[in-house]
Symmetry: C2
Subunit: 386 residues, 2 copies
């Protein structure tokens, strides 16, 4: 995608607003921030894409979230398209925006990711998220996402000797990073002991192995690169694949991740050695561990030791989730994928303050949407660079 640039970004703080903020309200804040950051007026935007998933199920406001949020920033009349792809709804929306520009139908496109999850109970939230799996079979058998990922963790421990302490290291690292991010849901450090002693959810995962349900919004302006200003960063790739669901696939990996990443590296003309930071879909501690392996940051089965060594910490060899990730920054489903690109843009611009990765020139975002037959429903991998 040699021709695309991110002109501006905006984000609310992610958090649990408990119904005090609507999708319209959160969306408006992020969109107006992104327009201001891009120094662009609403009339220069040709189209908008909105990634939002379970807000309809949880609040009843299904289809018009985009129209309502954008209207308050003066964005009316243009094509507004909602994209829904479970937890990768936001990154899928970015992908559609890139296609609209490449197709020649738009010069500048606004992308909004937004979700309201905490206006309902946690049980209702978890139940809504089950709609990102197969409710007729797996759902009917009582499978939930914590259950799926607990099975992966059990199998990873069995195959590779991965320990509970190594899983906890993911949570400790991401909370340490979140404590440096003023937009994060959780801005406090936690200890390994706290993770190990936390209330059990699905063995071996405890509550501190799980990302929270969050509310929040993130937005960006994508445009043709010839519009680039000094603070713009390039969107080099935005690739998506869905699962193939082979019966003999190991439970401890997602074949979708290397496939999407390979396509993104090729599209970007950049290799993994040229990536300075990684935003990775850590919905559970075991998820980050598996994705770290599947992205090739370490060998298969080595994720536990690798993470425990500090290699993925903010100052490590391969910083993963310096934003705090889903675990500490929070996971307002539809906003997550856009939020990852907001973080990468901020880092590549050198504007990340306390959590700035020194000399960051390129970053990769990995987002997982849905879970079917032990595989991912959809994986999106995007690459941005200076």
């Amino acid at each position: 995608l040699d021709d695309l640039a991110i002109l501006g970004v905006g984000s609310t703080r992610f958090g649990a607003y408990g119904g005090a903020r609507t999708a319209r309200d959160l969306g408006r804040e992020a969109v107006c921030d992104a327009l201001r950051d891009a120094d662009i007026t609403p009339d220069m935007i040709d189209a908008a894409y909105v990634g939002t998933s379970v807000t309809g199920l949880l609040t009843g406001q299904e289809s018009m979230v985009g129209q309502l949020a954008l209207e308050e920033c003066g964005l009316v009349g243009l094509p507004i398209t909602r994209v829904e792809s479970a937890c990768s709804s936001g990154s899928a929306a970015v992908r559609e925006a890139s296609l609209a520009i490449r197709a020649g139908t738009a010069r500048a496109v606004l992308v909004l990711g937004v979700e309201v999850m905490t206006s309902a109970s946690t049980a209702e939230g978890v139940s809504a998220l089950a709609g990102a799996g197969d409710i007729d079979y797996e759902g009917a058998l009582g499978m939930t996402f914590p259950g799926h990922f607990a099975m992966i963790a059990q199998r990873h421990a069995y195959e590779y000797g991965t320990t509970r302490e190594q899983l906890a290291a993911v949570a400790v690292k991401n909370h340490e990073n979140g404590a440096r991010n003023p937009k994060a849901h959780f801005q406090r450090q936690i200890t390994a002991e706290q993770v190990l002693r936390a209330a059990p959810v699905a063995d071996p995962l405890g509550i501190l192995d799980c990302c929270p349900l969050s509310d929040g919004a993130a937005a960006l302006v994508l445009a043709r690169r010839d519009d680039r200003g000094p603070r713009d960063v390039r969107l080099r790739a935005c690739e998506m694949v869905s699962g193939t669901y082979a019966d003999d696939r190991p439970l401890t990996e997602f074949e979708t991740t290397p496939r999407a990443a390979a396509a993104a590296y090729e599209e970007a003309g950049l290799g993994p050695d040229e990536i300075d930071l990684w935003e990775v879909h850590d919905c559970f501690t075991i998820a980050e561990l598996v994705h770290t392996e599947d992205l090739g940051l370490c060998g298969k089965g080595e994720g536990g030791e690798y993470i425990a060594s500090g290699a993925t910490a903010a100052g490590g060899e391969h910083p993963v989730n310096v934003s705090g990730g889903l675990k500490a920054k929070g996971h307002p489903v539809g906003a997550t994928g856009v939020g990852q690109l907001v973080e990468l843009t901020t880092q590549v611009r050198g504007e990340a303050g306390e959590r700035q990765v020194d000399g960051a020139r390129a970053g990769l975002a990995h987002c997982m949407g849905g879970f079917l037959h032990g595989d991912s429903g959809s994986i999106t991998v995007s690459i941005v660079s200076a």
Copy 2:
């Protein structure tokens, strides 16, 4: 869109399956039919778009409808993107498919529109559809879609003298057309007297002025035109706009329709005089009447007389909804926009049997998604031709 062709189409019968058929099941039937009709194998499909709206709210199966339906036809591994735009979800999905091809990322794309609505109660269905409006304000005031359109009908009668009998003529015509469509939800004729005596819903609209909640799926294969075979038809335009919500806008028209239609005529290089049939969003009788005016088939305020004259009947000057429309063919929300293009493709191929429009060479589809502040949330207008 000089370069795009519809290679194949498929559709289930639309109907009220009362939970006996899932979105996966309906989707599979339509997708496999479309692949067969296009004489194409799954490995030739590069991407898929899925339009579905309230199935998640009504059945809990939110994000993975596409993956589940496509998997059973051998379509795995490719990018699968769900698009949601209320009642125009299907046509919005077709638009994204056209962008993916024009962007150069796909050669052949599968589009599926699917909805399951009758597994829940009618009250739950109507409540879910309210999420296609503004639930915080208009919804909280008790507005539903029948209420909105009843207000439009009242105002249209006040401004232009439109009568209850003229509205009924829309329903009578569309049921007459539906009776000739083996895929229609309702395949029986009704009389004007039946419409006038039907149970009231929102004055002046009775139950026979309203389209049903339906289940169903429709699919098509879109590809670059250089792949065209003898039965392929061209997709000449697929344009979308959202509302502008001006305070002084009359209640009796949607400014979005002429705006989207003008863009589509320009893109297609065809004028209204070259269109042989029209599939129009007749969610209520008054809606078809207003859209007929807004599309320029007659002057503003003349819709009632024009329709009552028979000009929009199957053998009339401007045949509108020869498929039966939403009113009689049915309205499985996400499937509707794709189903309109299935009908136009079938007509332009000359394969519409009993309801064939003589010499049909070009058709226009008009789809409305959502309703905000008395205006449409989104309007899609597509044009196909031989």
